[in-house]
């Protein structure tokens, strides 16, 4: 499992971990049932504190991406990818609606907005 941590990012380190693990699971890079490193091993490999990986794993457990068995380790939980995709799409829709509202407030046209999105997307 490869995880890249940026120390200068505004995003907290535990969030960087949860996001990367989630995306590895959603893209199928990490398969259901696959063992992931223990939080202590991961902390050592990433050279960060144990409490940070602990928090990341706790969040991943809470949102159902992984599960842990005492003495055995942590594993990728069964995922209903369809459902997750739908949920994500729903969130994206909401966020786009907010963007549209904001754009209208300053009179940004659909064309201009699309251009902006294209630039940002391709960055």
């Amino acid at each position: 499992m490869q995880i890249i941590i940026s120390n200068s990012s505004k995003e907290p380190i535990y969030e960087q971990i949860t996001n990367q693990v989630k995306s590895a699971i959603l893209t199928g890079e990490l398969q259901e049932g696959a063992a992931i490193p223990s939080m202590r091993k991961l902390a050592k490999d990433l050279q960060i504190s144990v409490i940070t990986t602990k928090r990341a794993y706790e969040e991943l457990e809470k949102s159902g991406f992984i599960y842990s068995i005492v003495g055995k380790g942590s594993f990728v939980a069964e995922q209903n990818l369809e459902v997750i995709r739908e949920k994500k799409l729903h969130v994206i829709e909401e966020q786009l609606n907010a963007v549209i509202t904001n754009s209208k407030e300053i009179g940004l046209s659909l064309d201009e907005l699309q251009q902006l999105l294209t630039i940002l997307y391709e960055e």
Binding site: R40, K41, Q47
Partner: protein, 288 residues
């Protein structure tokens, strides 16, 4: 057992200096960083944890036991690494091992030689010929060779070069893969703590200011910058210390969410580094 060490309302007075009302917990399986400026009371506190000093008041418990009835059992399970050489200078590591090993029931010769090899330490050279880094490694090798569950390091990185400091941090992280081990690490070099500390205890002028997880510290403390006209008697209460300049103010808060509520977008709120926290707390504290 969740806490390997518990200090309750501990106090110790000296002429002209005192630590007072110390309530400190060291969590099992984690690294607790103990920070504070020189003379803040770090070593006094550590000596009380090790029973090298007895508190005037309060209670010290290690592994849930007290020193009155369990001194030997407690010390068997602690490894202490001290800044500087604690051994007789003229002795070599072989001699020191011969003296120290019988003192511990769980002394492990194989482990000792493993660390000697890993740290590239000479067995037959007098300790006085060792560099500062080598002395630290020797002291660490001995502390680790009796399967200590609690490792206490007093300013282990003081006077070490950056490469060796990093090696030491690597090693401590390796030790933490074992979840039964706990580390208590005093330092005034805050960058050491950024990397490995899970919990932080901060002592200032003999008083424990906080004992929180690194996440709590990051959530509570923040640097706030803004224009001077935002400050008045009420709004100032949110800050621990304020530095005023003609260009504006910069202040430390221990209640970041309150500041967000009060000032909103009118101020810049940034993450406070441990060094910021130490610096601003040193400038004076008005808590609450």
């Amino acid at each position: 057992m969740e806490n390997v060490v518990e200090l309750k309302n501990v106090a110790k007075k000296f002429k002209g200096f005192a630590v007072e009302n110390i309530n400190l917990e060291i969590k099992q399986g984690f690294v607790t960083g103990f920070m504070g400026e020189n003379g803040a009371g770090k070593s006094t506190t550590i000596k009380m944890i090790l029973n090298l000093l007895q508190p005037d008041a309060g209670e010290v418990k290690v592994f849930g036991l007290d020193y009155h009835s369990h001194e030997k059992a407690i010390k068997e399970r602690i490894g202490f690494v001290y800044d500087g050489n604690v051994f007789f200078e003229g002795l070599n590591l072989k001699d020191i091992k011969r003296i120290v090993a019988p003192a511990y029931k769980r002394w492990d010769d194989d482990l000792f030689y493993k660390y000697i090899e890993q740290f590239e330490l000479p067995l037959n050279k007098a300790i006085k010929t060792f560099s500062k880094g080598m002395q630290m490694k020797a002291s660490l090798a001995i502390a680790l060779s009796h399967h200590a569950e609690l490792i206490i390091l007093d300013e282990p990185t003081a006077g070490l070069d950056p490469i060796f400091r990093r090696e030491l941090l690597d090693l401590l992280q390796e030790l933490m893969v074992d979840g039964n081990r706990s580390i208590f690490f005093s330092t005034h070099i805050t960058s050491d703590l950024d990397r490995i500390a899970d919990y932080l205890a901060f002592i200032h002028k003999g008083e424990l200011i906080f004992n929180q997880s690194v996440h709590e510290v990051a959530e509570n403390y923040a640097l706030v910058k803004g224009k001077l006209d935002l400050l008045d008697r009420d709004t100032e209460k949110a800050f621990v210390h304020i530095r005023r300049a003609s260009t504006g103010f910069e202040a430390l808060t221990d209640n970041s969410s309150e500041v967000k509520k009060t000032f909103g977008d009118r101020v810049v709120i940034e993450r406070a580094s441990l060094e910021d926290i130490m610096y601003y707390l040193k400038g004076g504290i008005h808590l609450g």
